[in-house]
Amino acid sequence: MITAERKPMEELIECLRPYHRILLVGCNECVTVCSAGGRKEVGILSSALQMAFMKEGKTLEIREITLERQCDPEYIEELVTDISQAEAVMSMACGCGVQEIAKRFKEKPVFPAVNTSFMGASEQQGVWAERCQGCGDCVLGITGGICPVARCSKQLFNGPCGGSTTGKCEINPDIDCAWQLIWDRMKALGIEENYEKNMPPKDWRTSRGGGPRTIIREDLAK
């Protein structure tokens, strides 16, 4: 899932200062699951923003709506009536959602309410950790199911660096050394020989190196 965190209130208040009527849009997908921009967070942020402005003697009218998914144009279409009433839009979705709104409603200013963080998994209730960077060339099959791109601070492909001590990363001792995890897992699988294999330098063109990417499924695309 894509994870995100609400931006500091000060930043949000600042960008809405010129407006009196805004539309606050949540998303019922990833940001709901990571408790950053679902129906509940929309409600809380709406209250917080209104109070912040009321404190300054100003009223901010907020209309709340939460879409099933903000990264699909059909769902964005549901905003048509509400958006006409609003001077600006604040989206609680990830960056994809914000851009879809901007694309559809060219004349309306749209502001992100969250900082989109990473693709991650929930380690436990309320704790999410980065797992994938979408590099476009997955090596998990070789590395025992642990990603050196997303989980090694230095994105190393051939074993840990010299900074790995007692299984922890030198960048931050709270982070597990990805290569320690890879080694443990390889041992458990009995594929230690994979560790000895030298991995060639990674071709980053499949990642961001080749510019923004598009996926086309010919059988589905119209």
């Binding site: 019922n28 709901t32 699951v33 408790s35 679902g38 129906r39 509940k40 939460t66 209730q125």
Partner: protein, 1012 residues
């Protein structure tokens, strides 16, 4: 055996004693539709437990766990509670007792007293409010749910009775009240008079009578208690200073031959001392030192050993194995000084403490003894009621059953087990009350209000002067009339009187109201009554909202009538706003299947099955092995010398011959579905592994535990190394061999109380002593050593420990870190151990090494069953009950019960009691034809659900799950109605009925409208 014949003459049961055991028994009886007269000699129910601050092992506040039980018993229609009442005479026999009751004068009319407290405020010296509101008294009113919820007058202390009578606006004070006699008839009797705390004043060496800072554990509980005499401040009675060093002295008055003391063990004291020390440490951490002086640490109950380890390791409670004989006052420092010895030293140690707590145990009161005489019930040598090994709650007199500390000293869970068992046995003797369903049939049909515009009726109660005395109820009603959607608003005097209720009902029907607001007292006490009124008026009972303008307004703002009036308006506005959004809710009701599934065919399973079948239920008894009996098949004698095998033969015969029991041996549970009352369980039967599905309403787990066979001390490799279970058989079958032994060594705690198996197996000390005594009977010259860590002959079993010592059994203690060493030298067994008194190693050659290995949970089977039935287990693989103290038989999921050693290790007698109790609890559930789960459950709007799992992870009871359609689902039959899921759902897809978000918001808007 008692309880086999049903007398059916009279359908009332007399329960004597309103403590926790009596309440449980009365509630079980009422739930299984028997009429109960519950008598209590003090002014209200609750007993000893209401005085405790917190209970081990969960360190919960008792009040919070107990009060729902109390109010449940007070409200129950089948229970008549007579406080201040005792038995004067008893005649007759089982099925037909005639009992004369005597009730002391309360000088209060219970019908009229509203517990307003006016009399107490003005005449505190002559009014008591149960259990004593006065801070000066040893107890105080701890729970507002005191039943009966009324005051009582001590007329002798009252100097101006006329004035007192005038004070009561309700006219409830009766100065002419007298002792009353009443005769009742009862089919059976449950004895639960409890015990009293041993009077330590008689033990003058402990100084309780003359040093104020020597107190009993119960007094210490009161000091710790937030609503106790010091309001929870820990202070020394002598000078009001906070103590920094506290000592507990165990066995104060128990396990002693001193005059004024008793020789048995009081069972619960080790645990309550540990609890008190831990709670003290929790509050003051390292700024306080807690030391416990003990002889044997008897933490034998379920998970109690881990509690002891927590006290030792996590809380640094100091444990000193020594029994100080005297408490003296240090003349210089004014503190209390104890002299004691330790293994490691050869001289006396003197140590000073700021406070000494005496762990005083239980004894039978004179009152209870007299009661036994009146009823013709035999007592044992310690004055506890005599019971039989195989019929653990039946007294010597048919038709009279016993539970709790009057049977033997015990802790709360065992009391609860016996209470349910005694209630069940008592209920079997009498017939069921004819169903009261005709009342339900008289109800008018429920009007469909869904299409009607909201029409609210507001009724303001003046509660005599309780509300009307401070604020103008008429004006408040007028104000309410101006609120949106309010069609009628009226003041009604004493809203809860049947006259006013009738009026409200009439107005609802005449004016076609579809929402009602009651401005009056607390919904906690009166909501059910008003819901009932709505239902009788033909509308759904959930369309009412109460505004608490008495308890939370006029009673607390009597100093400012203006503020109280304004707040009353706020509260009415909130209620009106919220009730407008309420909608009819349906209680979840469904009819239940009355068949019973008992899993496990050991002594517990068979007893449960037999009890249920005798009551008239069809029972499926599933046993995985080829025959019934379980471990009990291998036990020959109980410690009391009773023949287990002939009992088992009889039991197996009865079970297999019973027309309503279907025994399924060689059968394994493979799947399970459904909800409480409507379960479906699949099983396969060997050898062909035929599959069969059983439909049933309740499930009772009696899967037992395993005889432990740890790899220790050459067990299984050398024929003269045996377990106590082997020894038990040897004593019956190989007496010649026993006669040939000159030396026998027994080692305790083999494979228990160790890192691999933390808890105590409870029964091993008893089996070792049982076998030692039997060996000496056959071979009086045999030299027997019992190497132990703590001897845990709890309760009255202490007698056997004493006898064993008298007969020359040598008990030598060893420490966990220095266990005995066993060498096999040329087929000779040589045991070497450290003698702590001589402080040197001793080696003994032995003919037989007997290991006390006890029981261990059947990990594989418990794990499988817990997975299939989705129920929790403890970390050491026993089934986890709903509440360790108060609900030891019910599992957290309704419809599941546990009996016997599947719950925790226990003796055969305890297993049978729990089997009867489980049958009793199941019987309670099955006495109803339908199950009503209320309406306050969480429901999910699937369109909004993001399947994020937060509800699944947050639910304290593991109810929500993501279903095959990909959204969260909550089984209303399992939902406890806390609403935690609704509050955490990030998609706002969950609503808790009765407390829906829009209603909460409406209350906020109602309150705050006009503020913005």
């Amino acid at each position: 055996m008692q309880g086999q014949n049903t007398f059916k003459n009279n359908n009332t049961v007399l329960v004597i004693g309103g403590g926790i055991g009596g309440i449980r028994a009365a509630m079980d009886l009422a739930e299984s539709k028997r009429d109960v007269v519950l008598i209590e000699k003090s002014i209200s129910s609750g007993g000893l437990m209401t005085q405790l601050d917190r209970t081990f092992p969960t360190n919960n506040c008792d009040l919070c766990t107990l009060s729902p039980n109390l109010s449940e018993s007070g409200r129950n229609l089948h229970i008549e509670l007579l406080a201040m009442t005792q038995v004067a005479e008893c005649e007759g026999e089982a099925g037909n007792f005639k009992i004369k009751l005597i009730t002391e004068p309360r000088y209060i009319d219970l019908e009229k007293c509203t517990a307003c407290g006016e009399c107490y405020n003005l005449f505190p010296e002559c009014v008591s409010f149960s259990p004593g509101l006065d801070h000066r008294a040893p107890t105080c009113m701890r729970y507002p749910q005191a039943i009966p919820h009324a005051y009582s007058i001590d007329i002798n202390k009252c100097s101006n009775i006329d004035e007192l009578v005038k004070v009561c606006k309700a006219g409830a004070i009766l100065p002419e009240d007298t002792q009353k006699y009443r005769e009742i008839e009862a089919g059976s009797i449950v004895l639960a008079p409890g015990a009293e705390v041993i009077d330590v004043d008689n033990l003058d060496s402990l100084g309780h009578a003359f040093y104020p800072d020597v107190i009993t554990s119960l007094e210490y509980e009161r000091i710790l208690s937030a609503s106790g005499p010091t309001q929870g401040k820990l202070i020394r009675p002598s000078d009001g200073k906070r103590p920094e060093k506290i000592a507990w002295i165990q066995c104060a008055g128990s396990r002693s031959i001193q005059e004024g003391a008793v020789s048995y063990c009081s069972n619960a004291c080790c645990m309550f001392a540990l609890k008190e020390a831990m709670v003290t440490k929790e509050r003051f951490q390292d700024t306080i030192e807690t030391s416990i002086f003990y002889m044997d640490m008897r933490t034998f109950g379920k998970d109690y050993e881990s509690y002891l380890n927590r006290a030792k390791n996590d809380y640094n409670v100091r444990l000193i194995r020594s029994r100080p004989h005297t408490v003296l006052k240090d003349p210089e420092t004014e503190s209390l000084s104890l002299m004691y010895t330790q293994d490691s030293s050869n001289s006396n140690i003197t140590e000073n403490f700021d406070m000494v707590v005496l762990s005083a145990g239980f004894k039978v009161s004179d009152n209870a003894r007299e009661l036994a005489v009146k009823l013709g019930v035999d007592l044992n040598e310690h004055n506890f009621a005599k019971t039989d090994n195989f019929n653990p709650v039946a007294t010597s007199k048919p038709g009279i059953y016993v539970c709790g500390t009057f049977e033997s000293p015990k802790d709360i869970p065992e009391t609860m087990v016996q209470a349910s068992a005694a209630a069940f046995c008592a209920s079997k003797d009498i017939s069921i009350i004819p169903d009261s369903s005709e009342i339900i049939e008289n109800l008018p049909p429920e009007r469909d209000v869904s299409q009607e515009p909201v029409k609210i009726g507001v009724f303001i109660c003046d509660c005599g002067l309780n509300i009307g005395g401070l604020i103008n109820a008429n004006e408040l009603a007028d104000y309410a009339g101006t609120l949106p959607d309010v069609k009628i608003s009226k003041m009604i005097g004493h809203g809860c009187s049947s006259e006013s209720m009738g009026n409200i009902r009439k107005i609802i029907s005449e004016k076609k109201l579809n929402r009602v607001v009651i401005g009056g007292c607390s919904p906690r006490t009166h909501e059910i009554k008003f819901q009932d009124t709505l239902r009788k008026a033909g509308i759904n009972k959930y369309l009412v909202e109460m505004a608490n303008i008495r308890d939370q307004d006029t009673w607390v703002h009597f100093d400012q009538p203006g503020g109280a009036t304004s707040k009353a308006r706020d509260l009415i506005r909130m209620a009106v706003a919220s009730v407008a959004l309420s909608h009819p809710l349906k209680d979840k009701v469904f009819s239940i299947n009355k068949d019973v599934l008992v899993i496990g065919g050991g002594v517990s399973g068979m007893n449960t099955a037999l009890s249920m079948a005798d009551t008239g239920f069809k029972v499926y008894l599933v046993e995985r092995s080829g025959e019934l009996g379980g471990i009990a098949n291998r036990i020959r004698k109980t410690i009391e010398g009773k023949d287990v095998q002939s009992y088992m033969k009889g039991l197996i015969k009865k079970v297999t011959k019973h027309e309503r029991i279907e025994v399924l041996t060689n059968s394994f549970i493979v799947d399970h579905s459904g909800k409480p009352g409507l379960f479906k369980t699949g099983l396969q039967t060997a050898p062909q592994m035929f599959y069969r599905q059983i439909e049933h309403g309740v499930t009772i787990f009696a899967t037992g535990a395993l005889a432990h066979q740890p790899e220790a001390y050459h067990l299984g490799r050398y024929k003269n190394v045996v377990t106590q279970l082997d020894m038990d058989a040897m004593l019956e079958d190989e007496t010649d061999k026993i006669k040939s032994f000159t030396s026998i060594v027994m080692i305790q705690c083999v494979g228990s109380r160790c890192p691999e198996n933390e808890n105590c197996a409870r029964i091993c000390c008893l089996s070792a002593i049982k076998n030692a005594l039997r060996i000496l009977e056959i071979n009086p010259k045999a030299q027997i050593f019992i190497l132990y860590r703590d001897i845990r002959t709890y309760g009255l079993y202490e007698d056997y420990y004493k006898t064993a010592r008298e007969k020359g059994v040598i008990f030598v203690r060893y420490e966990a870190d220095e266990p005995p060493d066993v060498q096999v030298i040329e087929k000779e067994l040589k045991v070497t151990f450290n003698d702590p008194i001589l402080d040197r190693k001793i080696s003994v050659s032995t003919d037989c090494l007997c290991l006390s290995t006890g029981l261990i949970a059947d990990e594989e089977s418990t794990e499988d069953l817990c997975r299939i039935f989705r129920i929790p287990k403890t970390s050491d693989n026993y089934f986890l009950e709903d509440h360790t103290k108060l609900r030891p038989i019910d599992l957290p999921v309704p419809g599941f019960f546990v009996a016997g050693t599947a719950h925790a290790p226990k003796t055969i007698k305890e297993c049978i009691a729990q089997a009867q109790a489980a049958a009793g609890r199941a019987n309670c559930m099955l006495s109803k034809d339908t199950l009503n789960l209320g309406a306050g459950v969480a429901s999910i709007e699937k369109e909004l659900c993001a399947a994020c799992l937060i509800c699944v992870r947050s639910c304290p009871f593991d109810v929500p799950f993501i279903n095959a359609d990909g959204y969260s689902e909550i089984d209303p039959a399992k939902c406890h109605g806390c609403g935690i899921c609704a509050a955490v759902c990030p998609a706002k897809a969950i609503q808790l009925k009765q407390y829906e978000d829009d209603q909460v918001m409406a209350k906020l808007t109602g309150l705050l409208e006009g503020v913005n």
